[in-house]
Symmetry: C2
Subunit: 255 residues, 2 copies
């Protein structure tokens, strides 16, 4: 029995993506900090798709030890798809920077994503039909000085994931690695980025997608043979691309 | 009395950069893990420039708490220039990945650089003549799948530093932020990246600079009004640029 693992599944793009994979009768492993939300999502999915196995894991992935521990706990499940969707932004100016938040963001957006992806690649790269989709952002392809550290983490994610797919192709592995780069999407992202209790996209952000639209785009990328799904921030449409950043195919044999 | 703070000063580009700033009669704060090497470098500098104050700090910057502690210890010194040179690579394949090394690398190349830069900006951004130079790599502008996680950390550094300079200019701050992106340079970099006891550039790497050449390029970037010093990996020459990655100047006022 094969599973799709989705991080940050308790709300927003992750939540809607879980519903989409459930519609396709994929068994699910749903990870997020908020256990109540995960339980409610599981109940909703199981009422519609009673045959599916839905495993929930309440974990704070900004602690690297817990990322390793989570993966070990999943040892008995056969994974097919990994969606690294968990992540948040930081819109504080440097003068007001909360370093705990910055470090948590780097550990979640960068470290946890790298650890989970590496463990998944290590175990499944030669299994037909396996795929990892990492959530970057338009800020992984264009610098937003207003969210400097967040932008930089997304440059990391884009370069890492694009490079990983080249690496997999170069060694004839069966797994594919893809990067989804959303434009603003009506989720809790801005709320957390701005440290606000609430944030209304309507009236505050010029163009934005709904999380349902982004989940559809994610599935479109999943089904395609392209590497990158970049959302055009003006038209809000998905653009599928093979590659964005240049690749140096130095072999690395230094013996 | 003003100081130039250089991390990773015990060897390679950092070591040679310390000598160059000493030639210009800059007081120095030299940071690295190896205290013996720092003491030898201080002795060498003080024999040639007896008037200079050379402070050495033996710290492992891959531990974020120690980065904050270091900066606090420097409270009594007036800083003028920050050179974030400390960093290392990881050329292990994913199947052989040592996660401790990966996490240390992310904490040094990404977290420590972000923390030190932010603290420096916070205290000195409105002081004329202040400057931060962050060491990226040609791998911050071109993906090297053979050193995937390292490449991704350098994409972080490039985007972060380019964006920071825009942010500083937008608010009419006096500080400048610049990014130096070396091509291969004959230092201990490859040795550490490949986990070898020794590595000869001669015969193993087609084109490389000496650390003295890179230190000269760093000073050339320091003296220029350009943001990026990118070393052309074929000609090994320095190319100075205003900007590389596109900038989105969204204001970020969401009130």
């Amino acid at each position: 029995m094969k599973y799709t693992l989705i991080t940050g599944a308790s709300s927003g793009i992750g939540y809607e993506t879980a519903l989409k994979f459930a519609e396709r009768e994929n068994n699910l492993i749903l990870v997020a900090r908020n256990e109540d939300n995960l339980q409610a999502l599981r109940a909703k999915i199981q009422s519609q798709h009673p045959k599916l196995d839905v495993v929930i894991k309440s974990v704070d992935l900004s602690e690297p030890k817990k990322v390793h521990q989570l993966y070990e706990e999943l040892n008995d499940y056969e994974l097919q798809t990994l969606i690294n969707n968990a992540g948040f932004g930081d819109f504080n100016q440097i003068s007001d920077q909360d370093f705990d938040k910055t470090e948590k963001m780097i550990r979640l957006n960068v470290e946890a994503l790298t650890i989970l992806t590496s463990l998944f690649v290590r175990d499944y790269e030669n299994v037909e039909g396996t795929q990892v989709i990492n959530l970057s952002s338009v800020a992984g392809y264009e610098i937003f000085p207003v969210s400097l550290t967040y932008t930089a983490t997304k440059y990391y994610v884009s370069a890492y994931t694009e490079g990983l797919n080249v690496l997999l192709k170069n060694k004839d592995a069966k797994m594919r690695a893809k990067v989804l780069a959303p434009a603003p999407t009506d989720t809790k992202f801005m709320q957390r980025s701005l440290d606000k209790d609430n944030f209304e996209y309507q009236g505050n952000v010029e163009n934005y997608n709904t999380p349902e639209e982004m989940a559809s785009y994610l599935l479109e990328l999943y089904d395609s043979d392209k590497t990158i799904g970049l959302v055009n921030a003006e038209t809000l449409k998905l653009e599928l691309k093979d590659q964005f950043y240049p690749i140096n195919n130095l072999s690395g044999d230094y013996d």
